[in-house]
Each structure stands twice: as structure tokens, then as C-alpha cells.
Amino acid sequence: MSVSKADVKKVARLARIAVDEANLEHLTGELNGIMGWIEQLNEVDIDGVEPMTSVVEAQLKMREDIVTDGHKADEILANAPKSDDGFFVVPKAVE
């Protein structure tokens, strides 16, 4: 599988990363390098092998249904470039 310049453009747009035309060629090469590297992994026979989700045998930890957090709007908003009356304020985003 190889990545085209159009693919790189699309991925960049989906990730909201601005990539100018001049950089596309270079990035396409880099991504193809990474893809090639991952493709090598496909050569390993993994028939009957469960996907490994953790290096240790562990169960998903669960929490009880108790309210233990919140009421820190000031902290939540502390890094916001703009806030008003307890809300985050961002440029108009109507879908």
C-alpha cells in the first residue's frame, strides 16, 4: 500500500494540520516510509494469536456511580483563550 499526495492532503485536513504544497512531497515520502515499515509486520503469522491489549494481565478497572468531581469551572476555563459567564467562547462554528 502506498500513500499518495492526495491522501496526505486528506489526512492533514482531517487532523486540522496546515500543510503547504511545498511540504507535501516530503511528507508523502515520510509517510510511505512508515507504511512500508508497518507492512513488514504483516509478514508475521499471527493466526490464532489474541490481540495484546496490555503487557500485564489486567482487567478493566471500574468506578462506582458516585459524584466525586466537578465544581471547578474556573480551573476548567483557566486555559481558554476566551470565556464569558462560565462558557468557553470560540469562533462561530455552525455545522
Binding site: D69, G70, D85, K92
Partner: protein, 512 residues
């Protein structure tokens, strides 16, 4: 009346008949105290950004920890939908950018949902007195996911205000098979699903608050095409579908589906094509409009969330929940048939909606069942249907209607007068006894007063008295002319005389 046949919904265009095929995705907020992956509260209507933890705001380094109660409710709901519970499920990241999604992805379950295939029996009550019917809808899956925050676009001309209180609240997305064949059936499906969720207690079903909302996928096809799809499973027999997002009322779901089907038919009949897209329903215009088109379609790039291990359930955990399942609407219906001796139809009408069932049980408690059913199903629901009101909008509380029924039971008023009293209760909001008292509608059971009336009428109508006697001598056990006397007495008493007492006194006086 309940019928076995499911009517087919046909729309006639300029080039022939069309049918509709629909599948629904319902988002139901889990009735938990804390969020799916954080300890912040799910309480509605709090100050903006006050029910937000650093996890919900996606601060770097924060890790999600799943809420056990949310897992239990998803399993409970799966069992209520007679669905397969997957002992292994997993969380995936659904990636997209939007200001109310601080993580840049929603934690959802894509490849391995917690609940697999199930089935739900839908009860449909068409308007205009057509017979009710039931039909099954296949449930494809139910999965757990996070809700997003709330964007408010009308607080500023060029800015959007964001409140993250809802961010991270647990949702169950319940996906149906394309088994729904009319706009009315789509609304009925959501009604039944809501009744089940409320009975289970896994979601409060509050649609106004957005705690239950539906996305409706609509496509149209020619008669016969759907049957080919069912036989082969090949979607190419069906038309291109559009998804109408986020509707939070039964009426909107029905209206949006009706409009959307007609819109698609018009496109196809004028040589255009239906584009697969997401649309929004505008209740003010009754139309749907493009929300995002295909070119802009999201590419969610799902992948397993590395912050969360797979969710493995112990079979005992599932069995414990199964053992604690409450009575579900279909079981309630069967109980009503046995316990109250109701017909399948009456029981179905009452149990199709959790609010109706609760209302009926309150009215029926300690009262005559037959009267309770008649007054709830016939008189009250008849009124509500005529006014296009839901039971939750009822102008008469269950206690107030019970009070009216009590007046019939203790013979204070007749059933006929009670109907007028009910309308007056709706108009004035007063109790039945206040209205009966104020308007002097009390039934006359005083035999002396009735006797006086009977004597007057007999004295004024010797011809009719003679007629009764003649009929009696001719061997009629119930002389027809007696009915005439009953009518006269009732008329002269303004409908207030107790009919039973009138009958008895007349028989005595006329020597029958």
C-alpha cells in the same frame, strides 16, 4: 381492536407507487449519577462548566475510568431488548473536530459493542379508527458512548458558546434494523423503546431535555423491492438513504419522515438522484435540510482506545442483572389481561406507554376495573387523541379522574352526567365533586322526590297509563310504554334522577 395484518404504507407519485424503509438510531442517556468515564455529575441544568472534571475537559494526562453502573444499565437494557450480551466488548475512538468535543474524539464502541442482536415488538395505533397492530423490529446492536458538550450559537453574532456539562455523560446508542415501514411506525417504535427503557430504569426517557433522541434513516423504493432486500440481505434493492438527525419528539419523528419520503420521491420522479447525506428537521417549516453533504462526510478513523482495556463481563454479572429485571411493557400487558380481565387491545393501549400505564394503575387502585378502563381508555384518551395531546399533557390528573369515578360508583351522579362533568373539569380545573356540588348535578335518589315526579306524570298522561295496563294484560312482562315513562321522569328531573330508582318506583306505581 387489534389486527394481525400490518397495513402497507404507500405513497402515490406521478410515476407510480412508492414505499418507505426506515431504520432508527436512538441515543438514550443512561440514568447514572456520574459520567461514563469521570466522577463529575450528570445533573441537568447546572451552571455552565460546573459539572466538568479534568477528564471531561480532556486535559493532558487524564485517564478515563469506566462507571460500573453504566455498564450494568447497558446490560440491563440489552436483556430488556431480548438481545445477546457480549461478554467481550471494547472501546474505540471516533475522531472528529468540533468545539464541544474537547478530546477531538468520542469514546464509543465500534467493532465490538456490549450488546448484539435483539428484538422489540412495536404497538401501532393508527389515527382515524383504523385497527391497531403489532410488528417486530430487529435490534442490530446497542453500544456505550460518551455524549458531547453543548454548543450555543445564539449568544453572540460571531461566536459560539460552549458548555461541557454534558461532555462525557453516558449514552446508549440503540440501532434498529431497517424494519420500519411508515412514519407512524417510526414514532411507535420510539414510543415502545422509551416505555421499555423507563420500565428498566436505565434511561428516564425525558425527550424534552434531550435524554432520548432519535436519528431516522429514510429511503424510498418501489413496491416489492423491500421483499427482495429481505430475501437476499442486499441493500442495493433499497434506495439511497438520508439520515435525519437528533429529533426529540414523536411528532417530529413522524413529520420529518413523512416530509423526507416525499422529498426523495420528488427528486427521483424528476430525474434527479438522492444524495446520501445527513439532514436536519426544522419543526417550524416541517421540512428537512442538508446538515452535511457527502463530500464533507466525516472520516472517523476509528481505532481501539489505548487508554481502556477491553470490557470483559463475568457471566454471573449478567445473570444477576437478568434475575433483577423489572416487569416490562409486554409482560405488563399480559398481567393486565389476567389481573384486570382486559382485552388484548385495552391492555395494549394502556401498557404501550409507561406514563399511561402508571396513570391507569393509579386510577384503578381500589376502584372498579371496568369503570377505570372505560374512563381512561375511552373518555380520557378519546379526548386527548382529539386534542393531539399526550398523556403527560393531560388536563385531568389520575387522582381527579378517580374522584369522578368515585361519584359514579357511589351513585352521586350517573355515567351520562359524568361525561359532562369531565369536560367541565377540563375547562375549569376544578374537582368533580366541586362541579357536581356547585351545579347541583347530584343524582336524585330520594324516593319521595321521584315519587312526586312519577305521580305528576301519571296524572297528566292517563292515556299512557292505560296503555301500560293494556300491554301488561296482553302478557308483556316489560310493557314498552314503561320506557316512555322512564324517559319523561328523567327529562323532568334534568337527567339527575337515579335511573334504577325511577324504574323501581314506576313499576310499583304502575302495578307491574
Amino acid at each position: 381492536m387489534l389486527t394481525e395484518t400490518r397495513p402497507s404504507y404507500r405513497l402515490t407519485g406521478s410515476t407510480g407507487d412508492w414505499e418507505v424503509v426506515m431504520g432508527l438510531e436512538v441515543h438514550a442517556q443512561i440514568a447514572s449519577k456520574a459520567k461514563l468515564f469521570s466522577g463529575a455529575s450528570t445533573a441537568y441544568g447546572a451552571e455552565p462548566n460546573s459539572n466538568v472534571s479534568l477528564v471531561d475537559a480532556a486535559m493532558p494526562g487524564m485517564l478515563p475510568v469506566i462507571n460500573r453502573a453504566c455498564v450494568e444499565e447497558a446490560v440491563r437494557t440489552g436483556l430488556g431488548l431480548k438481545a445477546k450480551i457480549n461478554l467481550y466488548s471494547r472501546f474505540d475512538r471516533k475522531n472528529y473536530f468540533y468545539p464541544d468535543l474537547p478530546q477531538g474524539y468520542q469514546i464509543s464502541q465500534f467493532a465490538h459493542p456490549i450488546v448484539g442482536e435483539g428484538e422489540l415488538l412495536v404497538d401501532v395505533e393508527p389515527a382515524h379508527g383504523e385497527p391497531s397492530y403489532q410488528f417486530p423490529v430487529g435490534i442490530e446492536r446497542l453500544h456505550l458512548e460518551q455524549d458531547a458538550g453543548k454548543s450555543i450559537h445564539d449568544m453572540s453574532d460571531d461566536e459560539t458558546y460552549v458548555d461541557l456539562n454534558r461532555s462525557g455523560v453516558a449514552l446508549m446508542e440503540i440501532v434498529s434494523r431497517p424494519d420500519i415501514r411508515s412514519p407512524l411506525e417510526a414514532a411507535a417504535y420510539v414510543k415502545k423503546l422509551r416505555a421499555i427503557l423507563i420500565a428498566l430504569g436505565s434511561c428516564d426517557g425525558d425527550m424534552e431535555k434531550g435524554n432520548l433522541r432519535a436519528d431516522v434513516n429514510v429511503s424510498v423504493c418501489r413496491p416489492g423491492a423491500y421483499e427482495k432486500f429481505k430475501a437476499t440481505g442486499d441493500f442495493s434493492h433499497l434506495g439511497t438513504r438520508c439520515e435525519i438527525k437528533n429529533m426529540n419528539s414523536f411528532r417530529f419523528i413522524q413529520q420529518a419522515a413523512e416530509y423526507e419520503a416525499l422529498r426523495q420521491i420528488e427528486l427521483l420522479e424528476t430525474g434527479q438522484q438522492v444524495d446520501q447525506e445527513t439532514r436536519l428537521f426544522d419543526p417550524n417549516t416541517g421540512r428537512t435540510r442538508t446538515m452535511r453533504s457527502k463530500e464533507d462526510a466525516h472520516d472517523y478513523r476509528y481505532f481501539p482506545d489505548p487508554d481502556l482495556l477491553p470490557l470483559r463481563l463475568d457471566p454471573d454479572f449478567v445473570e444477576k442483572i437478568r434475575a433483577s429485571l423489572p416487569e416490562l411493557p409486554d409482560e405488563k400487558r399480559i398481567r393486565y389481561m389476567h389481573e384486570y380481565g382486559l382485552s388484548a387491545y385495552d391492555a395494549g393501549v394502556l401498557t404501550a406507554d409507561a406514563d399511561r400505564a402508571a396513570y391507569f394503575e393509579e386510577v384503578a387502585r381500589g376502584r372498579d376495573t371496568r369503570l377505570a378502563v372505560n374512563w381512561v381508555n375511552q373518555e380520557l384518551f378519546g379526548y386527548l387523541n382529539k386534542q393531539s395531546l399526550e398523556i403527560t399533557d393531560t388536563p385531568i390528573s389520575a387522582a381527579a379522574l378517580g374522584g369522578l369515578i368515585d361519584l359514579i360508583t357511589d351513585q352521586t351522579i350517573s355515567g351520562k352526567i359524568a361525561k359532562d362533568v369531565m369536560l367541565k373539569m377540563i375547562d375549569t380545573g376544578k374537582s368533580a365533586s366541586d362541579i357536581v356540588e356547585a351545579e347541583g348535578l347530584k343524582q336524585v335518589t330520594d324516593t319521595g322526590a321521584i315519587e312526586t315526579l312519577v305521580n305528576e306524570i301519571m296524572a297528566a298522561n292517563p292515556k299512557q297509563v292505560a296503555q301500560v295496563q293494556a300491554q301488561k294484560e296482553a302478557g308483556h312482562a316489560k310493557p314498552k310504554a314503561l320506557g316512555w315513562f322512564v324517559g319523561q321522569v328523567m327529562k323532568n328531573s334534568g337527567g339527575k334522577a337515579n335511573p334504577q330508582a325511577v324504574n323501581e318506583i314506576l313499576k310499583e306505581k304502575l302495578d307491574l
